[in-house]
């Protein structure tokens, strides 16, 4: 659906994105992550054919976003950051206008305006002026507008920014349901949202693509994935040397806390030694109060890949 090859964009000497390449297949929901100023919006703007790239190529549904811009744009629904809208228009009027611009007419247009309003929960505000709508409603107007022409690809730049938790949940559900029919590329800072909705994550930092994988794989590859938490009562015995004898255990760090020893054990990534540890405890007659695998989150991945020593 999207194919990006060596995409570079410079603004007056400042490199916003550098040699980015990735592909998105039809039907995927892809989360686009990165710190502020990493180049997410720039990449999305290029894909929406708002900006021309300095070099490199991007195609949407096989159409070059710069050379075949009009054909590409017909297949894209784009929600810009901060959702710019004409404040003097009414919701119905705006949706009809945008639908017409995107090539809808007559009964089809009417049907789509009704359907998107229904889907985005805009039914009761159709006659209202956009200027008088709350942030949440404006966001939904933007979303309705982006999908009005049933585009193959939806590009959503921070669709949940500025929404309250209930609205975020609603938008997330909406995006999930849209994912059944559309390919979606969305950027966000809410990582739990990405874990809940996206098949794949792209992480970009300082204009470079750092990772591209499913949230599950990213989390599993992380260093912290190889940690086991342990809280154990061993009496006078020091468990460390016993634990280190288990094949695969790399490092043990336990602190004494009364009669309990609490800490973590570093093991090889992609392995699970909890069974062996439990076996050892039974054998040595230790009492275990906690034995759990450290669950890394996407946040850990994000921080690990994008944090900068400054």
């Amino acid at each position: 659906m999207i194919k990006v090859e060596h995409l570079t964009k410079e603004y007056a000497g400042v490199v916003a994105i550098k040699e980015i390449s990735f592909e998105v297949a039809r039907g995927e929901i892809v989360g686009f992550l990165g710190p502020n100023g990493a180049g997410k919006s720039t990449t999305m703007r290029i894909l929406a054919s708002y900006l021309p790239p300095t070099s490199g190529r991007a195609t949407v549904a096989g159409f070059d976003v710069f050379r075949d811009s009009l054909k590409a744009r017909r297949r894209i629904g784009y929600l810009a950051e901060n959702v710019p809208l004409y404040h003097d228009m009414r919701v119905d009027e705006y949706l009809r206008y945008r639908g017409t611009l995107k090539g809808l007419s007559g009964r089809k247009l009417k049907g789509r305006v009704g359907a998107t309003k229904e889907l985005c929960g805009l039914r009761e505000v159709g006659r209202k002026k956009i200027a008088g709508l709350s942030k949440g409603f404006r966001q939904r107007v933007g979303l309705a507008e982006a999908m009005i022409h049933e585009p193959d690809l939806l590009i959503l730049d921070e669709p949940t920014i500025g929404l309250d938790p209930n609205q975020i949940r609603q938008v997330r559900e909406l995006i999930k349901s849209l994912g059944e029919r559309h390919t979606i590329l969305l950027s966000t800072h809410i990582l739990s949202e990405v874990e809940a909705t996206c098949n794949r994550v792209l992480i970009i930092n300082r204009g470079k693509l750092e990772a591209s994988d499913s949230p599950y794989n990213l989390v599993n590859q992380l260093r912290t994935a190889g940690l086991v938490n342990l809280e154990v009562k061993t009496g006078t015995e020091d468990p460390t040397e016993y634990l280190l004898k288990i094949p695969g255990v790399k490092e043990v760090q336990l602190e004494i806390n009364g009669v309990w020893r609490k800490g973590w054990i570093r093991i090889e990534a992609n392995s699970d030694l909890r069974e062996e540890i439990f076996g050892l405890a039974v054998e040595r007659k230790w009492i275990i109060r906690e034995l759990s695998k450290e669950r890394a989150t996407l946040e850990d991945v994000f921080v690990e890949l994008t944090h900068t020593e400054s």
Binding site: P52, K71, R73, R74, P84, Y86, R98, T100, L101, G103
Partner: protein, 252 residues
């Protein structure tokens, strides 16, 4: 494509009427034009005049003030507001061509400008009907000045479009437009002032001598030079506007 352009045009036109500026402009325009019309019929009470009502109307100071002030006010919003609100991003990611946007914005401004002159046309027709004599003889004497208003208006509006595409600040856009429109209008004055010492300058400024052109046209004489000159310049300025528009968008 036609449907798309119509949608853009309707949006632009309705944007005029959604803003209070349109009504302020309409109001002052009515007053100034009403004054100009009153000045042109008042002398008739003192006996016959050598000039027609239309001729006096289109050469009155209040007419020219209204004429010159209206361009920046009409055009300042066109591009500046889109840049300011960021709606330029949603607009240009819809499947519309850049020239369609520039063209419809210009056309919307032109249509609004033309509606401003309708009341004055009505004055002349009502005058003719009331006193049983035409305000300005037959045919060309009446519509020739309107033809000139159209072409001169096109040119000045295109200058306004250019000014608006340069900045996202509407006030600044209006100021730039004023400078351009007035600057070209008053070039003629420079031509008058030092024309005798420099015939070439006089010749050049005569092309944009809007006062002289109106004097000619309001007599019912149709000069083909302004009819070619102004539309050509309009096309040129719109072309520049188109490139500025693209440049600003891509620079963001």
């Amino acid at each position: 494509m036609i449907r798309r352009v119509c949608a853009l045009l309707v949006r632009e036109l309705s944007a005029f009427y959604y803003s209070p500026v349109a009504y302020v402009v309409l109001f002052f325009f009515l007053i100034l034009n009403g004054l100009a019309f009153w000045f042109s019929i008042a002398p008739l009470s003192h006996g016959p005049s050598e000039l027609t009502v239309v001729q006096i109307f289109f050469n009155k100071l209040s007419f020219w003030i209204a004429y010159l002030l209206v361009f920046p006010v009409i055009t300042m919003r066109l591009f500046s507001e889109e840049f300011k609100l960021g709606t330029i991003e949603t607009l240009m990611t819809a499947p519309v061509r850049d020239w369609e946007v520039v063209g419809t914005k210009f056309l919307a401004a032109l249509l609004f400008y033309l509606t401003l002159w309708l009341p004055s046309l009505l004055y002349f027709l009502i005058f003719g009907w009331l006193v049983n004599r035409e305000a300005a003889g037959m045919g060309a004497q009446l519509w020739a000045p309107y033809l000139l208003l159209l072409v001169m208006g096109m040119f000045n509006l295109s200058l306004g479009c250019l000014a608006s595409s340069l900045t996202s600040n509407q006030i600044l856009a209006a100021m730039i437009a004023s400078v351009l429109v007035m600057g070209i209008f008053f070039l003629t004055m420079i031509g008058y002032a030092i024309g005798s010492s420099s015939p070439i300058l006089r010749e050049i400024t005569s092309y944009v001598a809007q006062l002289d052109h109106m004097d000619t046209f309001s007599r019912g004489v149709i000069d083909s030079r302004p009819l070619v000159f102004y539309p050509t310049c309009t096309a040129l300025v719109l072309l520049i506007t188109y490139h500025v528009f693209q440049y600003r968008r891509w620079k963001v």
